[in-house]
Symmetry: C2
Subunit: 227 residues, 2 copies
Protein backbone atom coordinates (compact mmCIF):
# COMPACT_ATOMS: atom_id res chain seq x y z
CA UNK A 1 0.00 0.00 0.00
CA UNK A 2 2.56 2.52 1.08
CA UNK A 3 4.87 1.35 -1.66
CA UNK A 4 2.14 1.99 -4.17
CA UNK A 5 1.41 5.47 -2.93
CA UNK A 6 5.10 6.18 -2.94
CA UNK A 7 5.43 4.84 -6.42
CA UNK A 8 2.81 7.25 -7.60
CA UNK A 9 4.53 10.19 -5.98
CA UNK A 10 6.60 11.20 -8.92
CA UNK A 11 4.17 10.03 -11.53
CA UNK A 12 2.21 12.43 -13.63
CA UNK A 13 -1.56 12.49 -13.38
CA UNK A 14 -1.68 11.04 -16.86
CA UNK A 15 0.17 7.92 -15.74
CA UNK A 16 -1.91 7.67 -12.59
CA UNK A 17 -5.02 7.98 -14.73
CA UNK A 18 -3.73 5.25 -17.01
CA UNK A 19 -3.19 2.88 -14.10
CA UNK A 20 -6.46 3.73 -12.45
CA UNK A 21 -8.52 3.36 -15.59
CA UNK A 22 -6.88 0.00 -16.13
CA UNK A 23 -7.83 -1.01 -12.62
CA UNK A 24 -11.39 0.16 -13.17
CA UNK A 25 -11.54 -1.96 -16.30
CA UNK A 26 -10.06 -5.05 -14.66
CA UNK A 27 -12.31 -4.79 -11.66
CA UNK A 28 -15.34 -4.48 -13.88
CA UNK A 29 -16.29 -1.05 -12.58
CA UNK A 30 -16.02 0.10 -16.16
CA UNK A 31 -18.04 -2.34 -18.22
CA UNK A 32 -16.91 -3.81 -21.50
CA UNK A 33 -18.85 -2.59 -24.51
CA UNK A 34 -19.97 0.46 -22.61
CA UNK A 35 -19.04 4.06 -23.20
CA UNK A 36 -17.72 6.57 -20.72
CA UNK A 37 -17.33 10.25 -21.35
CA UNK A 38 -14.03 11.93 -20.69
CA UNK A 39 -15.66 14.33 -18.27
CA UNK A 40 -17.18 11.44 -16.39
CA UNK A 41 -13.81 9.72 -16.01
CA UNK A 42 -12.12 12.97 -15.08
CA UNK A 43 -14.66 13.56 -12.30
CA UNK A 44 -14.28 10.02 -11.13
CA UNK A 45 -10.51 10.31 -10.92
CA UNK A 46 -10.58 13.80 -9.49
CA UNK A 47 -8.56 15.44 -12.22
CA UNK A 48 -9.17 17.46 -15.35
CA UNK A 49 -9.85 16.07 -18.79
CA UNK A 50 -6.32 16.72 -20.02
CA UNK A 51 -4.47 13.89 -18.25
CA UNK A 52 -7.46 11.59 -18.60
CA UNK A 53 -7.45 12.12 -22.32
CA UNK A 54 -3.75 11.40 -22.49
CA UNK A 55 -4.37 8.21 -20.58
CA UNK A 56 -7.19 7.09 -22.85
CA UNK A 57 -5.04 7.65 -25.93
CA UNK A 58 -2.29 5.52 -24.44
CA UNK A 59 -4.76 2.81 -23.51
CA UNK A 60 -6.25 2.94 -26.98
CA UNK A 61 -2.77 2.33 -28.40
CA UNK A 62 -2.58 -0.68 -26.10
CA UNK A 63 -5.91 -1.95 -27.36
CA UNK A 64 -7.85 -1.84 -24.12
CA UNK A 65 -10.38 0.70 -25.30
CA UNK A 66 -11.42 2.86 -28.20
CA UNK A 67 -11.81 6.60 -28.23
CA UNK A 68 -15.09 7.22 -30.00
CA UNK A 69 -15.62 10.90 -30.72
CA UNK A 70 -18.79 12.22 -29.13
CA UNK A 71 -19.70 8.84 -27.71
CA UNK A 72 -17.05 8.48 -25.06
CA UNK A 73 -14.37 5.86 -24.71
CA UNK A 74 -15.59 2.35 -25.27
CA UNK A 75 -14.08 -0.43 -23.22
CA UNK A 76 -13.23 -3.24 -25.59
CA UNK A 77 -14.69 -6.63 -24.96
CA UNK A 78 -12.95 -9.82 -25.97
CA UNK A 79 -14.52 -12.47 -28.18
CA UNK A 80 -13.65 -16.15 -28.21
CA UNK A 81 -11.69 -15.55 -31.41
CA UNK A 82 -9.81 -12.73 -29.68
CA UNK A 83 -8.98 -15.03 -26.82
CA UNK A 84 -7.64 -17.62 -29.20
CA UNK A 85 -5.56 -15.04 -31.04
CA UNK A 86 -4.17 -13.64 -27.84
CA UNK A 87 -3.28 -16.97 -26.32
CA UNK A 88 -1.57 -17.97 -29.50
CA UNK A 89 0.68 -14.93 -29.23
CA UNK A 90 1.15 -15.33 -25.52
CA UNK A 91 2.18 -18.93 -25.99
CA UNK A 92 4.67 -18.11 -28.69
CA UNK A 93 6.29 -15.29 -26.73
CA UNK A 94 6.43 -17.16 -23.46
CA UNK A 95 7.90 -20.23 -25.09
CA UNK A 96 10.54 -18.06 -26.68
CA UNK A 97 11.31 -16.64 -23.24
CA UNK A 98 11.45 -20.14 -21.78
CA UNK A 99 13.91 -21.25 -24.42
CA UNK A 100 16.08 -18.22 -23.84
CA UNK A 101 15.99 -18.67 -20.10
CA UNK A 102 17.19 -22.24 -20.53
CA UNK A 103 20.03 -21.06 -22.73
CA UNK A 104 21.12 -18.41 -20.24
CA UNK A 105 23.00 -20.76 -17.94
CA UNK A 106 21.03 -19.68 -14.91
CA UNK A 107 21.88 -20.87 -11.41
CA UNK A 108 19.56 -21.89 -8.61
CA UNK A 109 19.86 -18.46 -7.06
CA UNK A 110 18.68 -16.87 -10.29
CA UNK A 111 15.64 -19.10 -10.24
CA UNK A 112 14.65 -18.35 -6.67
CA UNK A 113 11.59 -16.28 -7.54
CA UNK A 114 10.42 -18.91 -9.98
CA UNK A 115 10.69 -21.58 -7.32
CA UNK A 116 8.98 -19.33 -4.79
CA UNK A 117 6.05 -18.97 -7.16
CA UNK A 118 5.86 -22.73 -7.64
CA UNK A 119 5.83 -23.27 -3.88
CA UNK A 120 3.24 -20.54 -3.41
CA UNK A 121 1.00 -22.29 -5.92
CA UNK A 122 1.41 -25.56 -4.06
CA UNK A 123 0.45 -23.94 -0.79
CA UNK A 124 -2.50 -22.24 -2.41
CA UNK A 125 -3.67 -25.50 -3.94
CA UNK A 126 -3.45 -27.25 -0.58
CA UNK A 127 -5.71 -24.66 0.99
CA UNK A 128 -7.84 -24.39 -2.15
CA UNK A 129 -7.22 -20.67 -2.28
CA UNK A 130 -7.88 -19.77 -5.90
CA UNK A 131 -7.01 -16.11 -5.51
CA UNK A 132 -3.62 -16.91 -4.05
CA UNK A 133 -3.04 -19.51 -6.72
CA UNK A 134 -3.84 -17.04 -9.49
CA UNK A 135 -1.47 -14.48 -8.03
CA UNK A 136 1.35 -17.00 -7.76
CA UNK A 137 0.65 -18.27 -11.24
CA UNK A 138 0.91 -14.78 -12.62
CA UNK A 139 4.12 -14.25 -10.66
CA UNK A 140 5.50 -17.45 -12.16
CA UNK A 141 4.76 -16.41 -15.72
CA UNK A 142 6.01 -12.90 -15.19
CA UNK A 143 9.25 -14.17 -13.73
CA UNK A 144 9.67 -16.72 -16.49
CA UNK A 145 9.43 -14.01 -19.09
CA UNK A 146 11.79 -11.80 -17.14
CA UNK A 147 14.34 -14.59 -17.02
CA UNK A 148 14.16 -14.76 -20.79
CA UNK A 149 16.12 -11.54 -20.75
CA UNK A 150 14.30 -9.81 -23.57
CA UNK A 151 12.70 -6.66 -22.23
CA UNK A 152 10.45 -6.23 -25.21
CA UNK A 153 8.92 -9.64 -24.70
CA UNK A 154 8.21 -8.63 -21.13
CA UNK A 155 6.30 -5.55 -22.11
CA UNK A 156 4.46 -7.21 -24.99
CA UNK A 157 3.37 -10.10 -22.82
CA UNK A 158 2.27 -7.68 -20.15
CA UNK A 159 0.20 -5.73 -22.64
CA UNK A 160 -1.43 -8.79 -24.08
CA UNK A 161 -2.09 -10.18 -20.62
CA UNK A 162 -3.97 -7.04 -19.72
CA UNK A 163 -6.37 -7.81 -22.51
CA UNK A 164 -7.37 -11.20 -21.12
CA UNK A 165 -7.28 -10.28 -17.47
CA UNK A 166 -11.05 -9.96 -17.21
CA UNK A 167 -11.65 -13.28 -18.92
CA UNK A 168 -9.23 -15.05 -16.61
CA UNK A 169 -10.74 -13.51 -13.53
CA UNK A 170 -14.14 -14.49 -14.81
CA UNK A 171 -13.29 -18.17 -15.17
CA UNK A 172 -11.16 -18.43 -12.06
CA UNK A 173 -13.92 -19.86 -9.94
CA UNK A 174 -15.35 -22.00 -12.68
CA UNK A 175 -12.13 -23.90 -13.17
CA UNK A 176 -11.29 -27.16 -11.48
CA UNK A 177 -8.33 -26.68 -9.19
CA UNK A 178 -5.30 -26.88 -11.46
CA UNK A 179 -3.65 -29.61 -9.45
CA UNK A 180 -1.80 -30.96 -12.44
CA UNK A 181 -0.37 -27.69 -13.69
CA UNK A 182 2.30 -27.45 -11.07
CA UNK A 183 3.90 -30.55 -12.48
CA UNK A 184 4.40 -28.61 -15.69
CA UNK A 185 5.86 -25.73 -13.77
CA UNK A 186 8.35 -27.95 -11.99
CA UNK A 187 9.31 -29.65 -15.20
CA UNK A 188 9.93 -26.29 -16.80
CA UNK A 189 11.96 -25.18 -13.81
CA UNK A 190 14.18 -28.25 -14.13
CA UNK A 191 14.62 -27.82 -17.86
CA UNK A 192 15.72 -24.24 -17.39
CA UNK A 193 18.12 -25.15 -14.63
CA UNK A 194 19.60 -27.96 -16.71
CA UNK A 195 19.86 -25.72 -19.73
CA UNK A 196 17.63 -27.92 -21.83
CA UNK A 197 16.25 -25.27 -24.16
CA UNK A 198 14.04 -27.34 -26.41
CA UNK A 199 12.52 -29.21 -23.51
CA UNK A 200 11.75 -25.91 -21.82
CA UNK A 201 10.16 -24.63 -24.98
CA UNK A 202 8.06 -27.72 -25.61
CA UNK A 203 6.99 -28.22 -22.02
CA UNK A 204 5.76 -24.72 -21.81
CA UNK A 205 4.01 -24.90 -25.15
CA UNK A 206 1.99 -27.89 -24.02
CA UNK A 207 1.26 -26.21 -20.72
CA UNK A 208 -0.01 -23.09 -22.39
CA UNK A 209 -1.98 -25.00 -24.95
CA UNK A 210 -3.80 -26.96 -22.26
CA UNK A 211 -4.48 -23.86 -20.24
CA UNK A 212 -5.88 -21.91 -23.15
CA UNK A 213 -8.03 -24.76 -24.39
CA UNK A 214 -9.47 -25.14 -20.93
CA UNK A 215 -10.14 -21.45 -20.59
CA UNK A 216 -11.82 -21.24 -23.95
CA UNK A 217 -13.98 -24.28 -23.41
CA UNK A 218 -15.06 -22.88 -20.06
CA UNK A 219 -16.11 -19.65 -21.72
CA UNK A 220 -17.94 -21.54 -24.44
CA UNK A 221 -19.72 -23.79 -21.99
CA UNK A 222 -20.74 -20.79 -19.97
CA UNK A 223 -22.30 -19.44 -23.14
CA UNK A 224 -19.99 -16.47 -23.04
CA UNK A 225 -19.69 -14.83 -26.41
CA UNK A 226 -17.77 -11.85 -25.17
CA UNK A 227 -16.01 -10.91 -21.96
Amino acid sequence: MRALAKEQKNQSSALIAKDQIKQLIFSGELLADSNYLETELADRLGMSRTPVRQATLMLEAQGLLEVQPRKGVRINSISIKDMEDIYEILTELECLAARRAAQADLKKTDLKLLLDAINAMETALASEDREAWAMADEAFHTELVRLGGNRRIESMVSNVNDQVRRARAFTLNMRPLPTKSNKDHKKLYTSILKGNAEAAHDTHRKHRKNASELLISLLKNAGMKRV
Copy 2:
Protein backbone atom coordinates in the same frame (compact mmCIF):
# COMPACT_ATOMS: atom_id res chain seq x y z
CA MET B 1 0.00 11.84 -52.03
CA ARG B 2 -3.63 12.81 -52.41
CA ALA B 3 -4.63 9.64 -50.65
CA LEU B 4 -2.42 10.60 -47.77
CA ALA B 5 -3.83 14.09 -47.50
CA LYS B 6 -7.30 12.67 -47.68
CA GLU B 7 -6.47 10.14 -45.07
CA GLN B 8 -5.46 12.86 -42.73
CA LYS B 9 -8.68 14.77 -43.27
CA ASN B 10 -10.61 13.22 -40.47
CA GLN B 11 -7.67 12.56 -38.24
CA SER B 12 -7.06 14.50 -35.12
CA SER B 13 -3.95 16.63 -34.82
CA ALA B 14 -2.65 14.20 -32.25
CA LEU B 15 -2.69 11.36 -34.76
CA ILE B 16 -1.19 13.54 -37.45
CA ALA B 17 1.52 14.55 -35.01
CA LYS B 18 2.15 10.91 -34.20
CA ASP B 19 2.60 10.01 -37.86
CA GLN B 20 4.72 13.03 -38.61
CA ILE B 21 7.01 12.56 -35.65
CA LYS B 22 7.44 8.96 -36.69
CA GLN B 23 8.36 10.11 -40.18
CA LEU B 24 10.83 12.61 -38.77
CA ILE B 25 12.42 9.84 -36.76
CA PHE B 26 12.59 7.40 -39.67
CA SER B 27 14.02 9.98 -42.01
CA GLY B 28 16.68 10.90 -39.50
CA GLU B 29 15.54 14.51 -39.20
CA LEU B 30 15.12 13.80 -35.52
CA LEU B 31 18.35 12.17 -34.38
CA ALA B 32 18.55 9.16 -32.13
CA ASP B 33 19.90 9.88 -28.66
CA SER B 34 19.00 13.53 -29.04
CA ASN B 35 16.40 15.51 -27.18
CA TYR B 36 13.69 17.71 -28.59
CA LEU B 37 11.49 20.02 -26.59
CA GLU B 38 7.75 19.83 -26.93
CA THR B 39 7.59 23.46 -27.95
CA GLU B 40 10.16 22.82 -30.62
CA LEU B 41 8.19 19.93 -32.08
CA ALA B 42 4.94 21.86 -31.85
CA ASP B 43 6.46 24.74 -33.80
CA ARG B 44 7.87 22.35 -36.33
CA LEU B 45 4.51 20.69 -36.87
CA GLY B 46 2.58 23.92 -36.78
CA MET B 47 0.31 23.01 -33.91
CA SER B 48 0.09 23.57 -30.19
CA ARG B 49 1.81 21.51 -27.54
CA THR B 50 -1.36 19.66 -26.57
CA PRO B 51 -1.64 17.26 -29.52
CA VAL B 52 2.15 16.97 -29.76
CA ARG B 53 2.30 15.89 -26.18
CA GLN B 54 -0.42 13.32 -26.74
CA ALA B 55 1.55 12.02 -29.70
CA THR B 56 4.78 11.74 -27.73
CA LEU B 57 3.03 9.81 -24.98
CA MET B 58 1.66 7.36 -27.52
CA LEU B 59 5.05 6.97 -29.13
CA GLU B 60 6.63 6.47 -25.76
CA ALA B 61 4.21 3.60 -25.15
CA GLN B 62 5.35 2.18 -28.46
CA GLY B 63 8.98 2.44 -27.40
CA LEU B 64 10.18 4.84 -30.07
CA LEU B 65 11.11 7.60 -27.67
CA GLU B 66 11.19 8.62 -24.06
CA VAL B 67 9.55 11.61 -22.49
CA GLN B 68 12.19 13.09 -20.23
CA PRO B 69 10.79 15.84 -18.03
CA ARG B 70 12.55 19.13 -18.57
CA LYS B 71 14.96 17.64 -21.08
CA GLY B 72 12.62 17.04 -23.95
CA VAL B 73 11.69 13.81 -25.67
CA ARG B 74 14.64 11.59 -26.40
CA ILE B 75 14.59 9.54 -29.55
CA ASN B 76 15.60 6.02 -28.63
CA SER B 77 18.54 4.47 -30.39
CA ILE B 78 18.86 0.76 -30.97
CA SER B 79 21.82 -1.33 -29.84
CA ILE B 80 22.98 -4.57 -31.37
CA LYS B 81 21.40 -6.43 -28.48
CA ASP B 82 18.15 -4.57 -29.13
CA MET B 83 18.31 -5.60 -32.76
CA GLU B 84 18.80 -9.21 -31.78
CA ASP B 85 15.93 -9.08 -29.32
CA ILE B 86 13.65 -7.45 -31.83
CA TYR B 87 14.43 -9.82 -34.66
CA GLU B 88 13.87 -12.75 -32.36
CA ILE B 89 10.36 -11.51 -31.66
CA LEU B 90 9.73 -10.58 -35.25
CA THR B 91 10.79 -14.02 -36.38
CA GLU B 92 8.57 -15.76 -33.89
CA LEU B 93 5.51 -13.69 -34.74
CA GLU B 94 5.96 -13.87 -38.49
CA CYS B 95 6.52 -17.61 -38.40
CA LEU B 96 3.35 -17.96 -36.41
CA ALA B 97 1.54 -15.92 -39.04
CA ALA B 98 3.08 -18.04 -41.80
CA ARG B 99 1.87 -21.21 -40.15
CA ARG B 100 -1.60 -19.81 -39.70
CA ALA B 101 -1.73 -18.62 -43.28
CA ALA B 102 -0.83 -22.10 -44.46
CA GLN B 103 -3.60 -23.57 -42.33
CA ALA B 104 -6.19 -21.14 -43.64
CA ASP B 105 -6.82 -22.97 -46.92
CA LEU B 106 -6.08 -19.89 -49.00
CA LYS B 107 -6.61 -19.82 -52.76
CA LYS B 108 -4.45 -18.27 -55.43
CA THR B 109 -6.65 -15.19 -55.49
CA ASP B 110 -6.10 -14.70 -51.77
CA LEU B 111 -2.37 -14.78 -52.35
CA LYS B 112 -2.35 -12.26 -55.17
CA LEU B 113 -0.74 -9.46 -53.19
CA LEU B 114 1.90 -11.82 -51.89
CA LEU B 115 2.76 -12.89 -55.40
CA ASP B 116 2.73 -9.29 -56.61
CA ALA B 117 5.30 -8.47 -53.97
CA ILE B 118 7.47 -11.38 -55.01
CA ASN B 119 7.35 -10.27 -58.63
CA ALA B 120 8.06 -6.68 -57.66
CA MET B 121 11.15 -7.85 -55.81
CA GLU B 122 12.29 -9.78 -58.85
CA THR B 123 11.88 -6.74 -61.06
CA ALA B 124 13.69 -4.58 -58.57
CA LEU B 125 16.54 -7.05 -58.34
CA ALA B 126 16.89 -7.13 -62.13
CA SER B 127 17.28 -3.37 -62.22
CA GLU B 128 19.31 -3.33 -59.01
CA ASP B 129 16.85 -0.89 -57.48
CA ARG B 130 17.38 -1.35 -53.77
CA GLU B 131 14.71 1.13 -52.76
CA ALA B 132 12.07 -0.63 -54.81
CA TRP B 133 13.23 -3.98 -53.50
CA ALA B 134 12.96 -2.80 -49.89
CA MET B 135 9.45 -1.54 -50.47
CA ALA B 136 8.35 -4.77 -52.08
CA ASP B 137 10.02 -6.78 -49.35
CA GLU B 138 8.14 -4.83 -46.72
CA ALA B 139 4.91 -5.32 -48.67
CA PHE B 140 5.58 -9.05 -48.75
CA HIS B 141 6.10 -9.31 -45.03
CA THR B 142 3.13 -7.10 -44.23
CA GLU B 143 0.88 -9.16 -46.46
CA LEU B 144 2.18 -12.40 -45.02
CA VAL B 145 1.28 -11.28 -41.54
CA ARG B 146 -2.11 -10.05 -42.72
CA LEU B 147 -2.81 -13.45 -44.25
CA GLY B 148 -2.11 -14.99 -40.87
CA GLY B 149 -5.45 -13.57 -39.85
CA ASN B 150 -4.50 -12.45 -36.36
CA ARG B 151 -4.95 -8.70 -36.11
CA ARG B 152 -2.90 -8.39 -32.99
CA ILE B 153 0.10 -9.97 -34.64
CA GLU B 154 -0.24 -7.40 -37.39
CA SER B 155 -0.10 -4.48 -35.04
CA MET B 156 2.64 -5.94 -32.88
CA VAL B 157 4.81 -6.69 -35.88
CA SER B 158 4.19 -3.22 -37.23
CA ASN B 159 5.21 -1.66 -33.92
CA VAL B 160 8.34 -3.71 -33.65
CA ASN B 161 9.23 -3.04 -37.25
CA ASP B 162 9.08 0.67 -36.61
CA GLN B 163 11.83 0.23 -34.10
CA VAL B 164 14.30 -1.25 -36.58
CA ARG B 165 13.32 0.87 -39.55
CA ARG B 166 16.30 3.18 -39.20
CA ALA B 167 18.73 0.30 -38.90
CA ARG B 168 17.33 -1.38 -41.99
CA ALA B 169 17.45 1.82 -44.01
CA PHE B 170 20.99 2.32 -42.84
CA THR B 171 22.22 -1.04 -44.05
CA LEU B 172 20.17 -1.10 -47.24
CA ASN B 173 23.01 0.12 -49.42
CA MET B 174 25.65 -1.87 -47.62
CA ARG B 175 23.98 -5.17 -48.32
CA PRO B 176 24.74 -7.38 -51.25
CA LEU B 177 21.72 -7.64 -53.50
CA PRO B 178 19.52 -10.29 -51.88
CA THR B 179 19.31 -12.40 -55.00
CA LYS B 180 18.81 -15.57 -53.03
CA SER B 181 16.06 -14.35 -50.76
CA ASN B 182 13.35 -14.50 -53.36
CA LYS B 183 13.76 -18.25 -53.51
CA ASP B 184 12.73 -18.33 -49.88
CA HIS B 185 9.75 -16.14 -50.64
CA LYS B 186 8.60 -18.38 -53.45
CA LYS B 187 9.04 -21.45 -51.33
CA LEU B 188 6.96 -19.89 -48.60
CA TYR B 189 4.32 -18.91 -51.13
CA THR B 190 4.08 -22.49 -52.32
CA SER B 191 3.93 -23.89 -48.81
CA ILE B 192 1.08 -21.58 -47.94
CA LEU B 193 -0.81 -22.41 -51.11
CA LYS B 194 -0.36 -26.13 -50.52
CA GLY B 195 -1.37 -25.79 -46.91
CA ASN B 196 1.90 -27.13 -45.61
CA ALA B 197 1.97 -25.35 -42.29
CA GLU B 198 5.15 -26.67 -40.78
CA ALA B 199 7.09 -26.12 -44.00
CA ALA B 200 5.83 -22.56 -44.12
CA HIS B 201 6.87 -22.04 -40.53
CA ASP B 202 10.32 -23.53 -40.96
CA THR B 203 11.07 -21.91 -44.30
CA HIS B 204 10.26 -18.55 -42.91
CA ARG B 205 12.23 -19.12 -39.75
CA LYS B 206 15.36 -19.87 -41.73
CA HIS B 207 14.72 -16.90 -43.97
CA ARG B 208 14.37 -14.54 -41.06
CA LYS B 209 17.33 -16.00 -39.26
CA ASN B 210 19.57 -15.46 -42.27
CA ALA B 211 18.31 -11.95 -42.79
CA SER B 212 18.82 -10.92 -39.19
CA GLU B 213 22.27 -12.45 -38.97
CA LEU B 214 23.27 -10.60 -42.10
CA LEU B 215 21.88 -7.33 -40.84
CA ILE B 216 23.59 -7.66 -37.50
CA SER B 217 26.94 -8.60 -38.95
CA LEU B 218 26.73 -5.63 -41.30
CA LEU B 219 26.13 -3.33 -38.38
CA LYS B 220 28.98 -4.88 -36.44
CA ASN B 221 31.37 -4.66 -39.36
CA ALA B 222 30.44 -1.06 -39.88
CA GLY B 223 31.46 -0.50 -36.27
CA MET B 224 27.94 0.56 -35.43
CA LYS B 225 27.22 0.29 -31.75
CA ARG B 226 23.88 2.05 -31.91
CA VAL B 227 21.53 3.12 -34.66
